[in-house]
Amino acid sequence: MGNKKKILDRLGIGRILTRISHEIVERNKGVEKVVLVGIRTGGMYLAQRLQKMIKDIEGTEIPLGVVDITLYRDDLSRKAVPRLRETTMPFSLDDKRVILVDDVFYTGRSTRAAMDALMDFGRPECIQLAVLVDRGHQELPIRPDYVGMNVSTSYQESVEVMLEEKGDEDQVVVI
């Protein structure tokens, strides 16, 4: 406790995102019907980066949405009220192949909330989950489809994804 351990640096994050963007294109046999949806806030920035990388590979800019899961959380009356931010979904999700992007996969509860939110915007053909770090301790039957890095952590630790877009240097640390 109290110690910071760097598990990924700028280059590492870059390589992972490059790999995941190729995997997305490969698994979906191209990007027709593929849309990216980032979970605020970390997932939103990662989704933006994936959008750029996929454009470099396929030459098409795939649609990007942002979802704020605050209103779908299951712990609202147990904590201080979280600050609500905007959800932006400028397209219908009907029959789309949705790549949901998050920075850290932990209990699976945020993913559950995000999926509930997505269902309010249409009926996607499928939803796939991409995460930068899978830290274990999943509590729901949900698994990511694209994993940047697996890390074993304890409940006391926290995994922080720091990104340039948030005003930090790109890195992932375990605290």
Binding site: L71, Y72, L76, S77, K79, A80, V81, L84, D120, G122
Partner: protein, 309 residues
């Protein structure tokens, strides 16, 4: 900042920081009303009671839609159908409703201070939806959201509130709210409809509409509330209309990009001419749309947060 407040009783006791949080939350809520499925599960299992001792259609409907879009259960309890007419006191009525365990009670009463009294006797959160000529905080907040949307800011703007200031809870809440956010507020109306000492609330007082709306960024027209007035406060409605109504000619005195607001219901041809009410500067219907978003924000903020850490 972390939201700590349990009740929304008036603009007077809200801090500028809290007002900003409510407005920002409301801005995020606006998007939900534009979806095909206009509902989020946030308040599933919570109960909101609309306890109205005074007639109201738009405010009650607005609160009801707001609660429903957040998946709360809503019950409307109105005076005509209640036991108040059978002699029950306000506190007894509230305790009876409390016994059914609602989470939030939205209340309107003809007596100023009634929501405050309720908040002392019940455990639910209380939202004041208008008490006498005292306060109407959700209306002021939706007005502030509308202005913020139109002008991109609040600080430094000039707001003119015209009409029956004495009987208007909307005016009072707006004066508290807008002055807190750095808006210069002016009021104008016949001397009989302007409360004594209103300058102490930090507003400029005028008795001619022309002076008050000069260079104004926002003009808010109020309805003459015949139902609240006792005695003869001005000669005739026709005369009032001649001196205080907002028409196209007077409108020229204000800033070129002036925004016209009205809390409704409007009396066409009395305080506002139809050309102005339906004109390009009028945001009267945006106010109604924003009302739902602001009320969703209030319900959301009050419903969350069990133990604050």
């Amino acid at each position: 900042m972390i939201w700590q407040r349990k009740h929304i009783l008036g603009m007077r006791d809200l801090e500028a920081e809290e007002i900003n949080l409510i407005l920002e939350t409301a801005e995020s809520f606006k998007e939900i009303s534009t979806r095909t499925i206009k509902k989020v599960p946030t308040m599933r299992g919570k109960t909101v009671v609309n306890l109205f001792f005074e007639p109201s259609t738009r405010t009650r409907t607005s609160f009801e839609i707001a609660a429903k879009r957040l998946s709360a259960d809503t019950i409307n309890f109105t005076v005509s159908a209640s036991s108040v007419s059978k002699g029950e006191t306000l506190i007894d009525t509230a305790r009876n409703i409390e016994a059914m365990n609602p989470d939030i009670i939205v209340t309107r009463h003809s007596a100023g201070g009634a929501p405050y009294l309720l908040s002392k006797y019940v455990n639910s959160s209380i939202i004041n939806a208008g008490d006498g000529a005292h306060e109407h905080p959700s209306q002021a907040l939706l007005d502030m959201l509308t202005v913020k949307e139109q002008k991109g800011k609040l600080k430094g703007l000039k707001l003119a509130i015209i009409g029956d200031i004495s009987h208007s809870r909307v005016a009072r809440s707006n004066i508290f709210g807008f002055t807190k956010m750095g808006v210069e507020v002016r009021v104008a109306g016949p001397a009989t409809l302007i409360p004594v000492d209103i300058e102490k609330m930090g507003v400029g007082v005028f008795y001619r509409i022309e002076q008050a709306i000069e260079e104004a960024d926002i003009i808010m027209m109020l309805r003459i509330q015949m139902e609240r007035q006792k005695g003869q406060l001005f000669p005739t409605l026709r005369e009032y209309s001649r001196f205080y109504s907002l028409d196209l000619k007077r409108l020229k005195l204000a800033k070129e990009d002036v925004t016209i607001m009205h809390p409704g219901p409007i009396n066409r041809g009395i305080e506002i001419s139809p050309e102005v009410a339906d004109g390009p500067y009028s945001v009267i219907l945006n106010q109604v749309t924003n009302g739902v978003a602001v009320r969703m924000a209030l319900l959301y903020l009050l419903a969350g947060g069990g133990d604050l850490d």
